[in-house]
């Protein structure tokens, strides 16, 4: 056992602390090449991660970078800096700690490169930028420890893949640097360990005491939830009462739009004027900082928020977490619950508020899963190649590189351990020449090969462009929203460009909880004025929509079989009974399909329970088949449990649409032409460096760009269907937005059993789908017909003839 040096144990004693078991174990294993700590929030996890570094630096003061710390949030890096400063100052340790994020000034960044601190706190993107500099070997010389915080959150995303490639680069520069991962409770620690560890090393996993079980329940509300919708307006009064009864409440929402609406309604009903704030990713940074600061000072009783507060600063005084809407995923629910009560020995308290009756069922299943500790996890895929392409370009920025060495380094990274040389070479070729079947660009390739076989940038100007486009986070094209200049020009946040395009002068929408009036567009900024007295149009935000996990979906279908719903609130039990009476309940081994007419359109609803993305794919496949069969589909919408298609023609034999071979056969053809693929392509092409979002001297928006990604996609599809980026797009779509795996799982589960019911009107289960956002239009024959009709009407109205 490594004994805590006196200086440290004294300091612990003055604070009245004793070292936690897992902190001691971290010390004991300090020399392990890789170490993963799984601990609940509030368990002194961060100090556990830094203790070996502090002890090392106290024992042997030195110059230069000793430890690099990476967290997924800028705010977390800044917070850790504050928290670590306390022991360092109080013990008088010779340790300099600095953070470096997108918010750090450029002069400070330059100084950090010349004279790195002992401990540098940063984010994956800032680290990627650091390794792209020619002087990276000097900056990182002597690095001992690499600490990755909230690694469970990073392991789920491309940011994590990019980070681990950068860490592989660090280990190439400093082979002895050790890796430390800090994680919240996860379903599969081994997978995180593999993600963290060099392929040739092994990883020690330490499990801290998980603490007491959370106190979690569905919020008891007198009024029943609505049949449909996601706003949970019916719960406003009950949530206000809870806020009043607790010190500080975090109110989580699944989407930004819902958070905005809920916040707005909360204030309308807030008779006691309880101080309540809002926090989400589309709000202006200044606004978010203000809310966070007020929270730290303990001035807020509640914050309405989204995933933007899933991670982050420990607010010790949060004593209640409210989740509005079904949690979709048990693991994330558990992590959100952990945001309450960041002291180690009290249970976290959480309340679930289903937004509609279907979500009541989902919440019930989720509650049971939390109780039985059965977390859900989807297997992590292979390392994505678009991220590798960006990494190759980053490495090229730092100087000439040897491809064989880079290939070996890449394979040392967990997610890329089975990368083939062919795959690597394809990425390298893409970076060097574009990788096109038609080699027309030899004159203008991006990388060139030196006589010794090393690759280098052809044009040094590229380095600046590549650095400007580092990162894997895809923001949708957004426009800034400001109050009109003569009223101070205060920035409010951002809205999606597509939404902005639908606004005309005088339209109103919600942002940051206030109703504003659209005044006009000046350059890339939406100008608005305050408008308190109008019902708003609602701002749309893309946000990430998570699919309900396989485990939760299966749980719901199992629950439907029971025919005994006494443990559900009466309103929901009655709703299910009603569905059973007028139609049927979905079953795991059959596919329920309802068709009905509603307000002049023909509808088809398929209850696949395959999760939002797979249901969306099903929608695309179905509408394609319908288009082929002349059934005039107009569009569809997908939720986690069903797909609703509408069109101009009655579908009499849906089984023909669902024939498995036809579905799978049509897949490849269909795959090429749809909007989801184009969206996926856009993201991958941006990450891989084909589309540059930021150009020297300007920040372009997607729409201002001189050519759209759709045109590039169509061109590649037509002339170069085997191109690397199309292959990447297919892979990404299969596991991401397309989720064909879950669709296949569904078709196997139902084994051809289709239950078609023709209804005289919409069914209780189908009704909510009509109100879902995210409708996907189909650009087929029906659209051409509608365009012609609309054009004729306009010409006639204008008194024009052709």
């Amino acid at each position: 056992m490594t004994k805590l040096p006196a200086q440290f144990s004294d300091w612990f004693a003055t604070r009245g602390w004793s070292i936690h078991d897992h902190q001691q174990q971290m010390l004991d294993k300090a020399d392990a090449a890789a170490l993963l700590l799984i601990a609940p929030t509030g368990g002194g996890k961060t100090l556990a991660g830094f203790l070996p570094s502090l002890i090392d630096l106290a024992a042997a003061p030195r110059q230069g970078l000793h430890t690099i710390y990476i967290s997924p949030l800028k705010a977390l890096a800044a917070d850790i800096k504050r928290n670590l400063s306390t022991p360092v100052t109080e013990m008088g340790l010779p340790v300099r700690i600095e953070d470096r994020t997108g918010d750090t000034s450029s002069s400070r960044k330059r100084r950090q490169r010349a004279d790195p601190p002992h401990i540098l706190l940063t984010t994956p993107e800032s680290l990627a930028l650091l390794i792209s500099y020619e002087d990276a070997p000097r900056i990182f010389a002597g690095l001992q420890r690499i600490v990755i915080d909230e690694i469970h959150a990073l392991a789920d995303s491309k940011r994590g893949d990019q980070l681990m490639l950068a860490v592989a680069r660090l280990n190439a520069l400093c082979p002895t640097a050790r890796r430390i991962g800090l994680s919240a409770t996860v379903d599969d620690p081994k997978a995180i360990a593999q993600f963290l560890t060099r392929s040739s090393d092994s990883c020690h996993i330490l499990n801290a005491d998980p603490g007491p079980k959370p106190d979690i329940a569905m919020l008891d509300i007198a009024a029943p939830p609505p049949w449909a919708g996601g706003g949970a307006a019916y719960a406003i009064q009950a949530v206000l009462e809870q806020i009043a009864q607790h010190k500080t409440t975090l109110i989580f929402h699944n989407t930004r739009a819902q958070a905005e609406i809920f916040f707005h309604k909360l204030w309308l009903a807030n008779a006691q004027s309880l101080p309540i704030g809002i926090h989400h990713g589309s709000l202006d940074r200044v606004q978010r900082d203000r809310v966070e600061a007020a929270m730290v000072r303990g001035e807020l009783r509640a914050i309405v928020c989204t995933g933007s507060l899933d991670l982050g600063i420990d607010w010790g005084n949060v004593d209640l977490v409210v989740q509005i809407g079904a949690p979709k995923n048990v693991k994330r629910l558990v992590q959100r619950i952990g945001r309450a009560n960041h002291s180690y020995n009290t249970p976290s308290k959480a309340l679930l508020v289903p937004a509609n009756r279907f979500e009541v069922v989902e919440c019930l299943i989720a509650l049971r899963a939390v109780e039985s500790h059965s977390l859900d996890g989807e297997a992590r895929g292979r390392g994505p190649l678009d991220v590798l392409c960006q990494h190759i370009l980053i490495i090229a920025c730092a100087g000439p590189f040897d491809p064989d060495t880079l290939f070996e380094q890449t394979r040392q990274t967990g997610a890329y351990h089975d990368l083939t040389r062919d795959e690597f070479d394809a990425c390298l070729d893409f970076c060097a020449t574009g990788g096109y079947a038609l080699r027309a660009y030899d004159r203008w390739q991006r990388l060139m090969i030196d006589p010794d076989g090393r690759y280098r940038l052809r044009d040094p100007r590229s380095a600046a462009r590549i650095r400007m486009n580092i990162g894997t986070i895809q923001d949708t094209d957004t426009l800034k929203v400001r109050l009109q200049r003569n009223r101070g020009g205060k920035p409010l946040g951002e809205i999606e460009e597509g939404f902005a395009a639908t606004l005309s002068k005088g339209d109103t929408f919600l942002i940051g909880g206030q109703v504003v009036r659209y005044e006009g567009l000046r350059e890339m900024t939406v100008e608005v004025s305050r408008q308190a007295n109008k019902t708003p149009k609602i701002a749309t935000f893309m946000g990430t929509k998570f699919a309900t996990s396989t485990q939760l979906s299966a749980g719901i279908l199992r629950y439907f079989e029971r025919n005994d719903w006494t443990d559900l609130p009466r309103h929901t039990a009655e709703w299910l009974s009603l569905q059973q009476r007028v139609s049927r309940l979905p079953q795991a081994d059959k596919l329920l399909i309802e068709t009905f007419a509603h307000e002049g359109r023909e509808y088809l609803c398929a209850y696949g329970f395959a999760g939002r993305n797979a249901q969306q794919t099903l929608g695309l496949l179905l509408t394609k088949r319908m288009e082929e069969l002349g059934q005039n589909p107009l569009g569809f919408v997908a939720t986690d449990y069903a797909t609703l298609v509408w069109g101009l023609t009655t579908v009499t034999d849906p089984a023909a649409l669902f024939e498995r071979q036809a579905l799978e056969h049509g897949f490849e053809d269909w795959l090429s032409g749809n909007a989801v693929m184009k969206r996926t392509f856009r993201a991958s092409a941006t990450i891989a460096g084909l589309i540059e979002r930021n150009l020297p001297g300007q920040r372009t928006s997607g729409r201002q760009a001189t050519f759209s990604s759709d045109i590039l996609y169509d061109t590649l599809l037509k002339y170069d269907p085997d191109h690397l980026l199309l292959a990447i797009t297919r892979t990404e779509a299969m596991r991401g937005l397309i989720d064909f795996e879950r669709l296949r799982e569904m078709t196997q589960r139902i084994a051809g059993h289709i239950d078609h019911i023709r209804l005289p009107r919409i069914s209780p289960l189908a009704a909510p789908l009509l109100l879902e956002a995210g409708r996907v239009p189909i650009a087929g024959a029906a659209q051409e017909r509608l365009v012609a009709e609309a054009a004729a009407r306009l010409m006639e109205a204008a008194g024009l003839t052709t």
């Binding site: 038609l438 107009l634 050519f707 365009v787 009709e789 609309a790």
Partner: protein, 244 residues
């Protein structure tokens, strides 16, 4: 080389057309974005922007798919198959920069020669491709074919009675149409009593919405837009909405 071999098999898409009239000339606005003048057997296309991706790559940017020229020429070839013009007018910005013609791949240059065979071919200069170009055909700054007058950029003070109907390009106009189900946005022709503005015909080109102030100022009252696409549609020129 695969794409090149596949070239013969690539589908040429045929689009329909909308009859329009300018200064007494009967014209057809094709869904492809080309203008067909049956009486003179003339086909007019604008803003091909050949060579745009090369310029992009040369500035140290990404290497875009090198199929832009093929895509544009294939479209032009299918239009010429359907409308065997005796004269082709390329209405400026045919090339993205003055060096672009000499940088054309040999096969693409031959392809252009093949399209030019047996017909008059007129390159009108644009702001991207001023001055003499290294490619066959006649080169003009403007062209007058009674009762029409062709130039790359519309003249704000153009007077239709003296000069004849003006046909121009340059702005890459597009327009939105709200249908019963959704709003679609398409490249379009803009037409009023004295002026016609063509959409961009090239593959890698962006666009300017019809409600942009510059287009608003150019087009008179009663202007219409012909939306390109499989079935081109004529609508009143959309003039309100977001100014972009």
């Amino acid at each position: 080389m695969k794409a090149r071999n596949a070239q013969g098999k690539l589908q040429k898409t045929l689009t329909g057309g909308v009859p329009i009239a300018l200064a007494g000339a009967s014209l057809i606005a094709l869904g492809s974005g080309a203008l067909w003048w049956p009486a003179k057997s003339m086909l007019c296309v604008s803003d091909l922007h050949l060579g745009k991706s090369e310029r992009y790559a040369r500035a140290g940017g990404a290497t875009l798919p090198p199929y832009q020229t093929q895509g544009t020429l294939l479209k032009l070839e299918s239009d010429l198959d359907a409308y065997p013009a005796s004269t082709v007018i390329c209405l400026g910005d045919s090339f993205d920069h003055p060096q672009a013609p000499s940088e054309l791949a040999k096969d693409d240059r031959l392809w252009i020669n093949r399209l030019q065979a047996g017909r008059d071919w007129i390159w009108i200069e644009g702001n991207h491709d001023p001055g003499p170009l290294d490619i066959g055909g006649s080169h003009r700054t403007t062209l007058s074919v009674h009762p029409l007058f062709f130039q790359h950029i519309a003249a704000p003070d153009h007077n239709g009675d003296i000069m004849g109907g003006e046909v121009s390009g340059h702005y890459h106009p597009k327009a939105r149409l709200k249908t019963a189900a959704r709003t679609v946005s398409r490249a379009c022709f803009l037409l009023d009593r004295q002026r016609l503005i063509l959409p961009a015909y090239g593959t890698y080109t962006g666009g300017l919405h019809s409600n942009h102030s510059q287009l608003q100022a150019l087009m008179g009252a009663g202007a219409v837009a012909v939306l390109t696409g499989k079935t081109p549609q004529i609508i009143p020129m959309p003039r309100s909405g977001t100014d972009r």
